[in-house]
Amino acid sequence: MRRTAAAVVRKDLLLELRTKETVPAMALFAVTTFVVFHFGLNRGSVAGDLAAGVFWVTLLFAAMLGINRLFVAEREQGGFDAFLLAPTDRTALLAAKAAALFVFLSVLELIAVPAFALLLLDPSPWPALPGLIGLLALANVGIAVIGTLASALAIQTRARDLIAPLLALPLLIPVVIAAAKATTPLLLAGGPGDVAARWPLILGLYDVVFALTAYAVFDFLLED
């Protein structure tokens, strides 16, 4: 299982390096959205819960671009058949695609977080950084698992670019709730307060439950 998953992740990262079609688009989308928020909210800078809200909503919608592109190569260039013909464990595809999406999200955040700090964030980001990185990792897992499942469900349909976000967004609301609530104290104007332990715990629990659910049902999407 791990050998197959590693092979698929390696291929996806290589494919992304070659085509550079997903991650750059997500990063540009995120930065542009910050600008839009600036004019939308017509505020020079944001802090506290508003900052957390702007940050997480932008990340969520940038992630939608990655989710829409996740299985396109498999669908259009026979990747599914190539994978199913090999002696592979079907759920390895779920693990691999989720890992690939996790990497894409992490690279996106490498660009989005500094941009956010530069463009909109009122307090200095440095003290909040360690806490933020931990939260980002937890949230990325949730977004990666749910995004992969939604993308796999939508890829076989005709209206796939519409169905995937419509499936993923409601499922991601608990992630946004927990992430935003946990980030708010970090971005307070007066400097980071302590994060209530409850929210990262909820985020972690949600990730685990959804990973198990996805693991249980994913095979049925590939059986024909």
Binding site: T157, I163, I173, I177, K181, I202, V217
Partner: protein, 251 residues
């Protein structure tokens, strides 16, 4: 096959529902602070509970469908979710009316059951479009079941997350679950809930009978028409379609 218990069931539903309405208006006292408006509670909350249970039931039937590959489970899951969606519309409308009456505007964010119900409704609203946009009937059934299982697991999680989020911003204004209601109001609520459950089961059996009849009809058409007559294109539907290998009479 499904129509068997229908007559008795619909009779029981009408009796219990009318009894519930009677109790609501003539027996249950007005709520202390909410007054007459609280009567909406007796219909809004049972509908919400039944709709949520319908979604979860749809998920359980979907698990049965994925495991046994029997087409009848897919149909049952489809009808359960389809009905819960219709009830869901009712829940949101009555919820809005109740919000307008109690708090003066059509939508409130401080009522966790209403908020999480909206999220669940938005998720399940994708069920029909997802089914409709997959051509191959067997894959349509399988993908719909995977969706139903995932969404079924999401229902309780979503409730938890929203309730936790709400609890720490502004404490709940009024307990909407039946738990802390005085005796006579609680009894009325339970009768109303029973009526709603009966209504759901009746409509479910009713729609299952109708869908089953359509399947029998199509099978008969195939037998009679054989290959020569092109089967009149029934157009694409989100509803489960007959597939050859799952003969409708396999129960």
């Amino acid at each position: 096959m499904y129509g068997k218990g229908l007559r008795a069931l619909s009779l029981a539903t009408t009796v219990v529902l009318t009894a519930a309405f009677a109790l609501v208006f003539f027996y249950a006292p007005n709520d202390a602070d909410q007054g007459f408006v609280q009567k909406i509670f007796y219909i809004h909350v049972p509908m919400a509970i039944v709709a949520l249970c319908g979604f979860i039931a749809g998920g359980v039937m979907a698990i049965a469908h994925l495991r046994t590959r029997a087409q009848k489970w897919d149909m049952r899951s489809y009808v359960a979710i389809h009905l819960s969606l219709i009830l869901g519309v009712g829940v949101l409308l009555t919820g809005a009316i109740w919000a307008k009456a109690s708090w003066g505007h059509w939508w409130v964010w401080n009522e966790p059951t209403l908020v999480s119900f909206l999220i669940i409704f938005l998720l399940y609203a994708c069920y029909q479009p997802l089914r409709f946009s997959i051509e191959d009937p067997e894959r349509q059934a399988r993908y719909a079941s995977v969706f139903a299982v995932v969404a079924g697991a999401f229902v309780p999680l979503n409730f938890l997350a929203v309730r936790l989020a709400q609890a720490y911003t502004h404490p709940r204004v009024l307990g909407t679950t039946g738990g802390n209601l005085p005796g006579d109001m609680r009894f009325t609520f339970l009768v109303a809930l029973a009526g709603m459950v009966l209504l759901f089961v009746t409509l479910w059996k009713y729609e299952m009978a109708s869908k089953h009849a359509t399947m029998q009809l199509r099978a008969l058409r195939r037998k009679l028409a054989g290959e020569e007559e092109p089967v009149r294109a029934t157009g694409r539907t989100a509803a489960p379609a007959a597939t050859l290998h799952a003969r409708p009479d396999t129960h």
